[in-house]
Amino acid sequence: MFAAIRKLADGLINLSAAIGSLGLIFIMLVILVDVIGRAFGSPMYGSQDVITMSMTVVVFGAMAICDRTGGHISVDLFERAYPELLNLAIDISAALLGAVIFVAIAYAVNESAKLSAMLNLSTNLLRWPKAWFQNGLSVFALLTAAGMVLRALELTFSGRDVRKGDAV
């Protein structure tokens, strides 16, 4: 059963990472267009709006895959000194703690998005609604949390640590 869920999860995680990667290439192109245009007297209108909002997609789009590939750094000074069972317990608890944190981020940012809609907040020049990007951030955060829960379940029931397996 885990195999099927894992396949679905990895598909979503990959999709999310792909959106983030596209966002990064896009940001680079926007800055280049802005820089070149400015040198000729016509910078891109609202470039800063585009760059900062796309950054939220880059940063949070990659959160799920970051966890999937073991990207979150921990202090491994005593890893070898700890008994195996303790290490397993730590890995499971940390994954669950991570899930709680990302659910909290998703919830908090979503609450802020409601306020943003109420206050009519948008970027200064292009008037892109801030709530769109906050909601996007929440979705990415929820996906990250789901990935962490799945990782914790796999660790608990099959002892498999996806971070040490093949890359996705």
Binding site: R38, G41, S42, P43, G46, S47, Q48, D49, E111, S112, L115, S116, M118, L119, N120, L121, S122, N124, L125, R127
Partner: protein
């Protein structure tokens, strides 16, 4: 009870003495020390100006100050006060804002009680290697602007508006990435622009900045009746005047220092010279006021 006041600038910024300390003194005096205000400076309770209003609304702090210009979409009508010539030169900005507040601006401040509303010293041209006397002098120059209306003003004058965080302006002026910035004289001191700028032009109608200080409405509602009365007495016109006066003192000091430095070219436009600028930007003012349905707000600000 100690109320938290979030300040995203350093503790010696003009805001501290003129608003935070003053509120603390007035409230503690009126309540025999029962109600006090403590400033959290330098962004200790969350950095940057853009999220200050939200932080008050969400209760991360009880009070904060900020600039509507950073979230201009929330403050469509309040932002009218920033337009060139919207408030007559001889009229204090805080009076204009409060005159329009009840009928036109209050709905832009949901969930909070505004304690002070004020405006800055008038914006000026702060330039490097370029002396501005006429709109033509701006042709093709790259000028840093804060928001959309300021961008329109710059465009109307023939300049190329460039968006960038104020913290990067120093470097950008030094390397010639931008030729200057349209903002108040206090930035000469606050962001060290005096070190890189060498030409100031005063008197052109370039608008000014607006500011607010707000208190969480629920926190206000939960105070005792006497404490609420103390807050009412300590806020409003008087506090706003204190802030605006302090802003002007800071700006004048920065200008005086700039004038003392003989390497600076300082241009004070004559009335005739001003006229050319006024004409160039008049379209921007009208189209903005129309876009936010702000005729009443503008009239109220102007005292009509």
């Amino acid at each position: 009870e100690e109320l938290k006041f979030a300040n995203f600038t350093p503790p010696f910024h003009t805001i501290n003495a003129s608003v935070i300390e003053k509120l603390n003194n007035d409230l503690s005096a009126a309540t025999n020390g029962e109600l006090t205000v403590r400033g959290y400076h330098g962004g200790e309770l969350g950095s940057g100006p853009a999220e200050q209003y939200i932080r008050v609304l969400q209760g991360a702090t009880d009070m904060a100050w900020g600039l509507p210009g950073y979230t201009s979409s929330q403050f469509g009508k309040t932002m009218i006060a920033e337009l060139p010539g919207a408030i007559p030169e001889d009229m204090p900005g805080y009076q204009a804002l409060w005159r329009a507040f009840d009928d036109n601006l209050s709905q832009e401040f949901p969930g909070t009680k505004p304690l002070a509303l004020w405006t800055s010293e008038p914006n000026i041209f702060i330039m490097r290697n370029k002396v501005i006397r006429t709109p033509q002098d701006l042709n093709g120059l790259k000028v840093r602007v804060a928001g959309s209306t300021a961008a329109e003003v710059a465009k109307a004058l023939g300049a190329t508006p460039v968006q960038m965080p104020i913290s990067q302006v120093y470097n950008a002026m030094q390397t010639g990435l931008i030729d200057g910035v349209i903002t108040g004289a206090s930035t000469l001191k606050d962001f060290k622009l005096d070190e890189v700028a060498d030409a100031l032009t005063l008197g052109a109608p370039l608008g000014r900045l607006t500011f607010f200080t707000v208190l969480n409405a629920q926190v206000y509602g939960d105070l005792s009746a006497e404490q609420r009365a103390a807050v009412d007495a300590a806020s409003g016109m008087e506090l706003s005047k204190s802030a605006e006066d302090a802003w002007l003192v800071t700006a004048n000091a920065a200008l005086a220092a700039a004038q003392k430095d003989s390497s600076n070219a300082i241009v004070e436009l004559t009335d005739a010279e001003k006229e050319a600028f006024t004409k160039a930007v008049s379209g921007v003012v009208n189209s903005y006021v129309n876009s936010v349905d702000g005729d009443d707000a503008l009239a109220a600000m102007q005292g009509n």
